[in-house]
Every structure is written in C-alpha cells, then in structure tokens.
Amino acid sequence: MSLITAQSLSKTYATDSVEVKALQAVSFEIQAGSFLSFVGPSGSGKTTLLNLVGCLDKPSGGSLEVAGADVLRLDRRAAAAFRGENIGFVFQSFNLMPVLTAFENVEYPLVMVQNLHAGERRARVLELLDAVGMSDQKDKLPDQLSGGQKQRIAIARALVTRPKLVLADEPTANLDHETAYTIIRLMKNDTRIIGEAEIVCTLEDGKLVRCEEAHG
C-alpha cells in the first residue's frame, strides 16, 4: 500500500490582490521506502507540498491520503493527533524549545503528545540520543549547542515517536557543508535512527548536488 497518495493536488494562496498558484495538479504516489527528496529552486512549491503532506495545511483542490488517512477530512484536533502519531518534523531552523534541555526536547513529544510512561520514555530518548551521537550533550540547553548539534536533537525528536513519516523542510539550510553532509547521511543511511520511517525532505538544488557528491 502507498504511504502517500496525491491526486491532482493544488494549492492557491490568495493575498489581497494576487492569487499565487503554488501547486497545480500534482499527482504522485510514494511507497514506504527509506529516503526521498523534493528538489527544486526556491519558490517551486517544495515547502507547500511538504506542509500538505504533513497535515499542516489544506490543499485547495485534489485529494491526498497519508498513511491511510484522508487528510482533507481531519479537523484541527484530529490533525494534531494524526501528526503526533504518524509524522515527525525536522525544521530548517531546528525549532527546539529553548527552555528544555536536549534530553527534554527529545522527550517532549512522548510526554505531551503520546503520553508514554516515564521508564519507556527515558529508554527511548537515550537510545535515540546515542544514535545521533548526542548522549554526552543531553543536559545542555539548545543555546549551548552548535547548529549541527541542534539539528541532531531535532532529528531525534522527530523520530522518537516512531512515526511512519519524517518530513524535513530544508534541514541543512542553516548548516555548513560538512555538517549538512553529516546530517543527510544520518537521515539517509542510519537505520538504527530512522527505523521504519519514510523520510521526505526538501532541498535546494545546490545542496543536493553537494550532498550527492559527498555521499556518493
């Protein structure tokens, strides 16, 4: 079964005077796999598509099914619950909670969204922190971490709920080449981290080339 099925998906943003067609009749199907990138220049609709798939936004037309759920039918609360259960997010600017330590940031979705009990929570968080190589930094606040370290924490947070799908919008845009490469490699290859999840990420053209060069 497909993980994501989109048919004639369109999205139009209406501002005061102009209508911007961000997506026009996009159809695709993604099978559960391991790693997929939407690559394109800035303004090509990558983020819009990712937001639709992530149930953060509603399409203007067409149909979209993610992990067996008709995204268009989800109301606010149901969409939040659906995201919490099925989707992990990695943001361009990390978006960690500044008042929580690295450990607590990773733990957050398990407490506030999935309500796991403390023992299992701790084991899962430590396992992921170890996998992203951040065990020794777990008590630091985001302010005390470098960009790459923050993104590792963000990846751990996205994966800690064991989602079916991880969506990463320009996860390397705020990182230097070397770090960007490491992060992509982490998400792409380390099955210990990604488990069963399908990773979909958006990348600007240049970044992808460099990633592919670096990684082969």
Binding site: L56, R83, F89
Partner: protein, 415 residues
Amino acid sequence: MGKLFQIALRNLRRYKRRSALTISLIAFGVIFVLVFVAITSSFKELMIRQITDSYLGDLQVHRRGYVASIETLPLNLNLIPQQAAAVEKVLRENPEVSAYSERIKFGAMFSNFAETTNIRINGVVPEMEFAACPQMASRISEGEKSVRALEKGKVLVPALLARGMGTKVGDTVVVVATNKDGSVNGKPFVVSGILESATGPGGRDGYIHLEDAMEILRMAQKEVSEFAVNVKAMGRVDRVAANLEAKLAAAAKDPKKVPFQVHTWSQLSPFANIANMIDLMTFFIKLMLIAIVLISILNVMIMAVYERVREIGTIAAIGTSPRKILSLFLVEGFCLGLTGAVVGVLLALGIIVVLNLSKLSFTFGQAKDLILAPNIAPLEVVSASVMVIVVSLLASAQPAYKASRMEPIDALRHV
C-alpha cells in the same frame, strides 16, 4: 500535569525580570489588601468594643418609640414596672446574655453652686452596670474606680463637663430634674469620680445610683428607660437580638402591639456608618487588587504568546493538542498568580507581626492612646489568595485561547 508545570516554570524563568516584576506587583497588591484589612478590622473591632463595653452594651431593649425620640430622653416612654419585669425575665432566661443593666435616663440641670449646666444622667444599679459595660471602671480617670463610685449619694461626672465647670472629686454638686408630672426636684451629690468621654452618643453622660434617680424623679415604682445588654458572643449579636425580640413579642399581652423594641449597637451608634464605610473601602481596595492582577497578568501573557508564536507553531506541528497548548499558558498564568499570592501573604503576615510588636497607638475622637493590634482572619488570607489565583487564570484565558487557536502553518512562518 507535572511536565506542564515544569515547562511553565521554565518559561517564566526565561524572562526573569518580567516575571519578577509581575510577581512583585501582585505581591504588593496582596500586601496592601491584607495589611489594610488587618488594620481596619482591628480598628473597627477596637472601636466597637470601646463603644459597646464602655456605655452602649451590645444591644438595648426599650419601650417602643423610645429610641425614635431618645434625644429628649422622654420619661413618659419608660418601661412601666410590669413591662420591665417581663423584659428582665426574658433576659435572665436567655443563655447567650452574659449581663444586662437597667437604666433610668433623664435630662437634668447640674450645678456646682457657682455655675449651672445641663447634663444627661443614667440612674443605674452599679453592679449591673459594671457587668454589662466592662470598660466602665477603666473610663474613670480620677476617683473611685469600682462599683463604689456609684453608691447612693455619689455621682460620676463626665470629664468634659468637669473640666468646663472646674469640678473635682469630692466636690458637692446638685442635680435638678423635672419628672414626668412636671414637678421639679433636686438632690445634692458628692462627685466620686471623673468619667472619660467615649465616642458616640451616651459617651458624655453622668451616672448616679438607680434609687437616687427614682428619688429625684419621684418614682414610686421602678420604671426603666433602657436595658443595656452584654452578649457572650459578639458575632451572634444579631441572632440574639432577633431571639430576644421573638421572646418579648411572645411575652406581650397583645401580639399586634408589642410594647418592646430591641436594637443592636449598630442601630444605635453612628460608628456603624463608619464601620460600613471601612467595609466599602476594603471592597474597593480589593477591586484595585483585582485590577492590578488582571492587568499585569494579561500584559505578561499577551507578551508571552506574541513572543513565542514560532514555538507555539512548533509544538502544534509536532502534534500537541490545542487543549494542551491552552493549558500550558493557563498554567503559566496560574504559577505567576500563585507565586505572587504566596509572596504577598508571607510579607503581609510579616508586616502585621511587626505592626503588633511596635504597638501603634492612635486617638479617635475623645478616645486616646488606643493600641492598634492588627490581626487578620485566616478566611481573609484564603479569600484574597483564591481571588488572585482565579483572576490570574481569567487574565491568562484570552492569550492562552489565542495560542491554542493558532494555525501551526502560520505560526511557523512567523518571524
């Protein structure tokens, strides 16, 4: 829930100065209210005690219509002997009455042979009067300070009159009065003591023995102008009054024409209006506290939501339910209010202890050197704290609701 509190507290700590300012504002308001309530309520209690225990009694029983024309001290509105006996019986049978004093009140001329002035006289049975008004002895500034000051042939002269007339303890004076039949009679007295004034009507009356009053007024049988009654529990004075009224009505021959009237101290003393004013002021001060809490918390929470739009977007995107986001901000407001209330209560209690140790004295009207002993009822502390916390929650509700309704996609785009 614990995690919600943990995150809320960390968020408050993030903006240390702002949180501290809000907490101190709330604490200041709480201190202001509690110290104000402590001082005014102790002032009120002190003044009421002063009035009731020195001359008024906690409540009084008169013949119907007497109080309405009390300024003229009408002798024809005294309780006739059978009525007085009925009242005494009811008072004696009530377990909540600790003491009562029967009085014959009349207006008279007071002369020291050189000058003459008018005076209001209470004819009393000394033991009964001293029991019903326990502060009577302490009001006697010069001379005999016990029931012996009111032995037959002696008079207690109010201080203002004694000063004006140059009267001293041991002087002989004459009291002249007209009885209800219109005949004038006089009697010489020896001044046994000078009575300090007390606040309110009746605070400047002279006192003689009941039998002397009967003699001046040529009463064959004892008629009583009023019964001053002391009750065991001041807080129950209204209930005791109602109870006495019912019993007196039952004792009356014709239930439609009950000849008796019961008045509590608050119906007799103008100080009751001051007491009501104090209560009104307290109410407005509490309203100010509500305004302080409302504005400061609302301000802080609106800022918090505004500054953390992206954060709200992030937690919403990763699946935090709108209800949890709402709770998160409500808990923040709650913590601010609770901390402010706790700090305020502790400091206020400290200030009240210090005020008690420093034994502040004040003068009110003719009453001098009254020692203020502020104290606060636990109920006041609890109600002020609960009020602060409830208002904090109310003030956080709007910003919290706004946060919970944010679309994650818009919030994430926010710069």
